[in-house]
Symmetry: C2
Subunit: 515 residues, 2 copies
């Protein structure tokens, strides 16, 4: 037994800094301790992980967290608080959870409450149904890896209602740990080949950086297609064609990812456009991945959400029985905004049976998605019905949340478009605006000299001067020479007004300074 002597003051800090020499040669340090290069260094770690980037939680957000800490320590700043409009985190911005959902979750967590007369009967009956589907009637049991069967049944019925009766089989539903988990799992299945036969995956630019991050990690080829900013970020089939044709010269494009309503760009696809995309995917033999997590977030007049599944089946058996599709949904967005529960599902259509068996096997390694998130997903797809005690309040809460979001979408577009040098497309859906910003040549040069993207430089200045945290467009991809930022519409209306005014003022000053 060796007694504890001379332990370093902070765990995890060796007596010296970073090992510069990666050979296993021993060295003596000033305190006489023999020292070796680390086993795991930046030079010897997984190179694909190094390529991963995720702007939504990147350096600007790290700086925002530091600024918050400095403020709380009393450091003087030109602002009183940091406003994070970088991520679609509704509750963090003050949106209230749906009462019914949380009642059922409390009942499921602590079933003693089923004897509490203050809880409504419909909440209790939902909780009983969920618990009866759990091993030992406990949220603490593992579920089937594909998800709780009764939840998958409820998801299937939800999809059938949503899609006007198009059939949905619970066997085609996989519950997931948020939509991200499902998307990464599907991409994982699709990746194969080397060099010119390596799997290419088509993603929109601008895109949600989960896609580029997952493709980098999997070593797949990212194949960009550009949304048309001039036409409200719409998708042109001719651009898809250009993109796939070019990709075929150096990789094997096998999948096409669509985010609708769009993230970060907020557009809502027309039914016609979805039909054209499906035809294109069939013709070019692409597996379709439809990220539809914002399906309830549609605000603009004349816009409507159409699921890829519904349109596919309306196109008749030539398509509905051949085109391979995975669509994704989540508890994190829409009117519920329950990001922390990491609930989600994917539906797979026309997947080869042997591949499906492999998918089921693959998800079993991680045992199961979090059961509270599965319970929440169940409530989202099976909310209170007319005549049930919680119905009126549920509708009231849902409607209120969605109307406020619609107002804020409009407000954001309107105010940003009053600023000279900012041009914002209508926020038709989702939770973000992605305006184009003019950055003066002098600022571009200063950014480049700092080794920064010009819009990163812009957003960093904005953060330091106003406390507003946005994400630079370069984190999502954009046409060369254009600059943008992504801003959520989630802050409460009064705060959003202040935020927009501050952005306006900052943009004016920034432009003057660098002109």
């Amino acid at each position: 037994f060796t007694p504890l002597v001379g332990a370093p003051k902070r765990a995890g800090d060796g007596p010296r800094g970073r090992a510069l020499n990666s050979s296993p040669v021993e060295k003596m340090t000033e305190n006489g301790v023999s020292s070796r290069a680390k086993v795991l260094t930046i030079d010897t770690m997984n190179p694909t992980v190094k390529k991963v980037e995720y702007a939504v939680r990147g350096p600007i957000v790290q700086r925002a967290v530091e600024l918050e800490r400095e403020l709380s320590q009393g450091v003087k700043k030109p602002f009183a608080e940091v406003i994070k409009a970088n991520i679609g985190d509704a509750h963090a911005m003050g949106q209230q959870p749906i009462t019914f959902f949380r009642q059922v979750l409390a009942l499921c967590s602590y079933p003693e409450l089923l004897n509490d007369s203050t809880f409504p009967e419909d909440a209790k009956s939902r909780a009983r149904r969920i618990l009866q589907s759990c091993g030992g009637n406990s949220l603490g049991s593992y579920s089937a890896s594909q998800g709780i069967e009764s939840v998958r049944q409820d998801v299937a019925r939800y999809i059938e209602r949503r899609d006007g009766g198009v059939p949905c089989a619970p066997d085609n539903i996989y519950l997931t740990t948020g939509a991200s988990d499902g998307i990464v799992t599907m991409l994982k299945l699709l990746v194969c080949g080397e060099g010119a036969t390596r799997t290419g995956v088509m993603i929109s630019i601008p895109q949600y950086p989960l896609y580029s991050a997952a493709l980098a990690e999997l070593g797949a080829v990212q194949v960009n297609y550009y949304l048309n900013e001039e036409k409200c970020w719409s998708l042109d089939i001719s651009e898809l064609q250009r993109s796939v044709d070019e990709a075929r010269t150096h990789c094997n494009p096998r999948a096409l990812c669509i985010i609708n309503p769009g993230n970060p760009t907020g557009q809502v696809q027309s039914r016609q456009c979805i039909e054209d995309v499906i035809r294109f995917a069939a013709k070019e033999r692409l597996f379709l991945m439809a990220d539809e997590v914002y399906q309830d977030n549609v605000y603009a007049d004349g816009c409507q959400f159409h699921s890829f599944k519904k349109v596919l089946f309306e196109m008749g058996p030539e398509y509905s029985s051949t085109v391979e599709l995975a669509s994704f949904h989540s508890t994190s967005k829409c009117y519920m905004g329950e990001c922390g529960f990491r609930g989600g599902y994917m539906e797979i259509i026309n997947m080869d049976n042997e591949v499906k068996a492999q998918l089921t096997k693959l998800v079993s390694v991680r045992l199961c998605p979090p059961v509270p998130g599965q319970a929440l997903m169940d409530l989202v797809v099976n909310p209170p019905q007319p005549g049930e005690p919680s119905y009126d309040n549920f509708i009231k809460e849902r409607t209120a949340t969605l109307s406020v979001l619609a107002e804020k979408a409009k407000l954001t577009e309107q105010v940003l478009n009053t600023v000279e040098g900012i041009r914002c497309n209508p926020v038709q859906g989702a939770m973000y605006s992605f305006p184009r910003i003019s950055i003066p040549e002098k600022a571009v040069k200063e950014a480049t000299a700092n080794g920064q993207q010009p819009d990163m430089f812009y957003c960093m200045r904005l953060l330091e001067e106003t406390g507003i945290c946005l994400v630079p467009g370069s984190g999502f991809g954009q046409k060369d020479g254009t600059y943008h930022f992504r801003m959520t519409i989630l802050p409460p209306t009064d705060k959003l007004k202040i935020l927009l005014d501050k952005v306006k003022e900052f943009h004016h000053k920034f432009t003057q300074k660098y002109s």
Copy 2:
């Protein structure tokens, strides 16, 4: 607009069976629909995914689920119920959750309950602290990707108490989605190189198949070291040496994984052995991964849990400031058994700072671990304290659960050792017995003729005849020519007795039949 016509009766079923031809040539099927080979087939999917195996939820469990369905449909079987002793799923086997934990989770889910006078004050104060650390005071907000800061602080204090004051920095704690998530993330960082320089990872045989599955998926080289069944599944340094020396001829061994207490083998490592392993890792330049999820599950007299962290720091700065270590814990095992919440943490020691930054970036892509699981992890590391209203009941519940487990560990070993042809090491800890079984030569031949591992054949027969679901030893790895099964000790005592008697009877009959 194309109206919906002739949609197949079941979504996901094309008009024909599996595409046998993987070329993109169009064919006409009997109903006149043009048909194409699928984009994603077993031949064109990710080859590393195909190599993944996960016995704990493999074919035997799928058959058990089918049998349950058949029973519920009234199909006659030689048994009335399926008993699943295949997976460490405590609540599914009737173990009750800790009341205090579930009270706090209910309060966090539905904070209205903070006004309910029937909840104890200590539960309320824990809930308030957790909610104050959540954005918008809601479990529905994303947390920091590394996990909620206050939870990481509580984890660090827990580790310091557990390890007799060895310091722990909250910055070195990463909350995870169960321990599996942390283990896979760490392995992902470690994998690099090609051919003879490809990363090798040493794992025990028998092992928990998450490790082999993750290594297969990452394309890393699995380097086996064998536990010594004759010495109660202990770990011999000479065997580690043999293993690493052989591995160096064809790969680059960079990490050594240890599961203590052992899964599936139930041994508890001695302090001396841990010290020897640490010395070995230092000498051979291996990153240590300590899977310590069963740290409270120690039953045998004279056995005690020693964390790798504590032993490392007791060995003095030569080791404590150089050996790289990641250790893993979870909410799923010990006395809580809350598998469904997918809570966990890892602590990293001596990790290179640049690699740590990469780790933080990597986990940010998945946004955050499930927040209810983080809350539960917080309660595990910060349970009721003496003097608090819930303390006595908490201690009573925890003690009761752990004593029953200890009884069942003993019972399992005793009964199995009364069977001729079964030999069971003491279940010193964890939740499993892994007895060695004799399989007659004739049964081995019949299994081989069926293309089955002999112990898979044995377990399948056991399942069909008795309804008992165990996992064959071949799913965990074992010395060639030896056969085992893994059985959890989790069924309630009365059911466990029946189960053990049935196994005894089955083994006897099976041996007679094939002798």
